[in-house]
Point group: C2
Chain length 217, copies 2
């Protein structure tokens, strides 16, 4: 049943090819002629499929252009990453986020093109925002579940959801800064743990500035 979906049958190969064709046509058209010109009809013409087939692969035009929102099921890898960073969960969340983004097997060129698209047209920012929000929500759920099963690693009392929310907020705040620097700096800035830790520390500084005597006496 799932065999035909994951292994290399003719059907599956064709399906991937079609999906790729649509995706590339969508992104390419949007980049070349602008978002407004990238109608579903134009994309279909470019990709050589019918309108029906288009909506058979993507539920909306936007998802064809911007990709399906990162919906990562809580897999074993995420679990292992958190286990390995039990003492510094913000860093763990950082790696889980990278894992979630990386495991989407997206064409690198397509990904870059998408960044350019959003950067060029501010009216499209909400797509990016929605995707980020979805990823964040997933991370919170994952971490809250993990925290409930690992009480020893917790730093805050009460509902695990609270600690999860704050930890993810811290991680994504730092991540957001890195992304901003990455985009502003011509893209040659590395996204690594060191930079992430520096951003995290800086955020703890500006956050702690408003709450004297609460964190470390």
């Amino acid at each position: 049943m799932d065999d035909s979906r994951s292994s290399g049958g003719l059907r599956e190969r064709k399906r991937r090819a079609t999906e790729n064709a649509i995706e590339e046509a969508a992104v390419g058209l949007a980049l070349r002629d602008g978002i407004a010109a990238a109608t579903v009809e134009a994309i279909c013409r470019e990709a050589g499929v019918s309108r029906s087939t288009f909506f058979n692969y993507f539920p909306s035009k936007e998802q064809a252009i911007f990709g399906r929102a990162a919906e990562f099921a809580p897999d074993a890898t995420s679990e292992a990453i958190l286990d390995a960073h039990a003492g510094e969960l913000a860093v763990g969340v950082f790696y889980v986020g990278l894992h979630a983004l990386g495991s989407q097997r997206v064409n690198t060129e397509v990904a870059r093109a998408r960044v350019a698209l959003v950067a060029a047209d501010p009216a499209l920012a909400h797509h990016h925002a929605a995707a980020v929000a979805k990823l964040e929500a997933g991370l919170v759920a994952l971490l809250a579940d993990w925290l409930a099963r690992h009480p020893d690693a917790r730093r805050l009392p009460g509902d695990p959801l609270v600690e999860a929310t704050l930890t993810v907020a811290a991680a994504t705040g730092a991540g957001r800064l890195m992304m901003a620097e990455f985009l502003a700096g011509a893209g040659d800035i590395a996204i690594d743990e060191e930079r992430f830790r520096a951003a995290l520390a800086a955020m703890a500084l500006v956050a702690g500035a408003g709450a004297p005597g609460a964190s470390h006496g």
Copy 2:
């Protein structure tokens, strides 16, 4: 010229009444019969206006239901708030955010209904996410500008945008937690500075846990 827009002429009174009618019809219908049933036509019928008029007031159906995204122009009040909290800008950002949300003169009942709508249908969460993202972007821009003009208040070297991004990330992280608690706790939880400071301190704790001694290297 602007007189007729802001003062209490007949025209302006009518305009506000129509806007309110559309807004209430939109939210009411969505709540009562579900989002799917709240078509533009139905809203217009309920509000007693034509389709043309509808789009004359709201650029999209979603904005009628969920409200125009909080677009706050950097006004004098925001400036004064930041001035008053130069030593703890995260708190200042908190108050500016409250100001931006509060100055939208939204009907309280409509606001509550909107929260219920988003809570009921998770598929609608991206509207909320986009609105939050827009507010955040505005806050970052405002704070970066303020920081550039008040170097003495800064805590981080380099681009003011960096400090602004991190400070806003910290503030909205804490704010997000408060909002989550507010929604989870039947809505009888106060949103005040004390709770905000506590959330901020907690976030500094979980963030600082992952970056020992990295801030003053």
